[in-house]
């Protein structure tokens, strides 16, 4: 018999963790002498009350959906892929190479090619840690952290020594050709008399992220491979008895995870900056960890969590603009969310389980 009903496990525990994280964040805001309610008002106003605000919120959410899905796919096989940052960095390189060195007649074809490039490069960057974990037992957390740093150094080298146009000062690639510019929400939804999403970077890759959510759901719960991934995550020995090869599953799972993280670069590199720049990922790879934990590794949960973090990101930028609260507040909130929904999960779960057991005894 389960200690808790399923709805409590799926909804109540994350909700309570979230409330705890929010309360502590409010305390932090109070401690630096600002009003939490006023801060919340500003954030909602800036991120949700105008279509341009939504344009930024959805742009950030797109990144977090991809990296959140990447982390959660790996979590299903009980692998902690902390290397989303590096995989997304390499994904950006993939996008840039595909877009810059191949002639594209139309953005739709370029989007397809760039997505393939991004996913391939991201997956490739996850392949080495995956192989080392599967074959040689090297801890994947450590190797993926190391690969984040190696990716940063590699990108630095490629930008400065290879991709930087002659005579340019800042370490960035050349601008992508106009034919490959992705349609933004402004171009897609605005008309002459009702301007929407003005100047906001949200673009068509948001829908790519939604497709990825559905695809991951299908993969994990509706395919044989997904079953094998979950089986390995629950019990390696049981999976082995069922004839599942752990080596194969670890490598395939990490390839998918790295590919998803790499796809994030389509949004940032092709959709927003339209050239490859240093540090294009801006920590989104790490936010994927918080998003996956909060979303309980379910694509729908990841979508909701990514929207919440998109809101926090855009709201945080507004706060930094209008108040004395720096953007780093978001990093604190992110840390608290990871802490409560990830590491201190049992702190919320244990009392709740006791409560439900007591309730059940009372009814019986």
């Amino acid at each position: 018999m389960d200690k808790m009903p399923a709805w409590a496990d799926a909804v109540l525990v994350p909700l309570i963790s979230l409330v705890l994280a929010a309360l502590l964040s409010a305390l932090v805001i109070l401690a630096i002498g600002e009003s939490p309610l006023e801060a919340l008002r500003l954030m909602v106003e800036g991120a949700l009350m105008r279509s341009a605000g939504w344009g930024y919120t959805l742009y950030y959410a797109t990144n977090f959906i991809f990296t959140g899905l990447a982390v959660s796919v790996a979590f299903h096989a009980r692998l902690f892929n902390i290397g989303g940052e590096g995989q997304a960095t390499l994904g950006g390189l993939g996008v840039a190479l595909v877009v810059l060195y191949l002639p594209w007649p139309h953005w739709s074809l370029a989007l397809l090619g760039a997505s393939l490039g991004a996913a391939a490069f991201g997956a490739l960057w996850a392949l080495i840690p995956a192989y080392l974990q599967a074959r040689r037992g090297s801890h994947i957390v450590i190797t993926t952290i190391m690969f984040n740093f190696i990716a940063a150094a590699l990108l630095n080298y490629v930008l400065v020594n290879v991709l930087k146009p002659v005579g340019a000062m800042d370490p960035a690639s050349a601008l992508f050709p106009p034919a490959t510019h992705l349609p933004t929400f402004q171009q897609m939804f605005s008309s002459a008399d009702s301007p929407l999403f003005r100047g906001a970077p949200a673009n068509i890759s948001f829908f790519l992220a939604l497709i990825a959510c559905v695809a991951v759901w299908l993969l994990i719960w509706r395919t044989r491979l997904g079953y094998e991934i979950r089986a390995l995550g629950h019990s390696e020995s049981a999976a082995r008895y069922a004839g599942i090869s752990p080596v194969r599953i670890v490598i395939i799972t990490m390839l998918i995870s790295g590919g998803l993280a790499g796809l994030m670069a389509v949004n940032t590199t092709m959709g927003e900056s339209e050239r490859l720049v240093m540090n294009a990922t801006e920590g989104a790879g790490f936010i994927g960890i918080a998003v996956a934990l909060m979303g309980r590794n379910h694509p729908f949960g990841v979508l909701l969590a990514a929207l919440l973090f998109g809101f926090l990101y855009q709201g945080g930028a507004e706060l930094a603009l209008w108040t004395n609260i720096p953007r780093e507040l978001i990093v604190v909130i992110q840390a608290l969310v990871i802490l409560f929904t990830g590491a201190l999960d049992n702190m919320v779960r244990m009392p709740l389980e006791k409560l439900f057991l007591a309730l059940r005894k009372g009814n019986a």
Binding site: V141, I325, P326, G342, N346
Partner: protein, 321 residues
Amino acid sequence: MDFLTLLQVLDSTVRLATPLLLACLAGLFSERAGIFDIGLEGKMLMAAFFSAAVAALTGSVWLGLLAGIASSVALSAIHGLASITFRGNQLISGVAINFLAAGLTVLIAQDWFSQGGRTPSLMGGGRFNDITLPFAETLSGVPILGPIYAELISGHSILVYVAFACVPLTWWILFRTRFGLRLRAVGEAPEAVDTAGVSVIGLRYAAVMICGLLCGIAGAYLATGLQAGFVKDMTAGRGYIALAALIFAKWRPWYALSACLLFGLLQAVALRYQNIDLGGFVIPVQVMDALPYILTVVILAGFVGKAIPPRAGGEPYVKER
């Protein structure tokens, strides 16, 4: 490269290796007791900020050091609570601590000093000054050995000597005391320690607290010894390099010293020379930046010796009934 340049590079190697060494030994205590700690970076950063902030406010670097250690130990307590008491995932807790430190330091710095997330520059008593060892002046005339003594060994801040003294001390505690034996045992077979009637939870908390203490010193050295004040994200991945050094050293104190000196040397060379020309073949500076991480992956892959972590590492201990 002449002798004096070599000495200067080695001198900065010692300075750069110090925070790595302290953090590496911190991780050694924690991981030997079976608690993985990828939050070294965050604890160092937190300590760097609070040591610089308190030193700037009070003018006393010693109070700063205490504040730095206290803040780092507080983060250790959170890590202990999450990973020992509530049996949470130690890696996730470490990630959370890194972000908590990265965010809080800038937030508080902006609130206290309004200088864009940094502390004012430290001066005079607000910093650990370099100590000149006895006879450094008089002996500097002696060929070879004189300059080595005067430049390389003498003239560092007190925390550098503390860090190097921690190496034999750690070895002695871990391998020559009862506490050390139990601490290692709790990382290999906690059930055996429990059967012997020793508290697994107590030992693990002790290890995590020692880790906090050493990370605190490492952070304080960064902000008040190596540099004069705190700037945003000033640890710059040193916590992860220390983690790499720990694996490189296979969780042993003396090897930790050589690993940290090696990684310190890489940093010193990368700092001094942009691109290294080896007779027609140029090593770009980015390779030097990435080398510690690449070396660690190679070691982890088991191609050069095998790095075997403590057996119970990363697993919360559940008492049998």
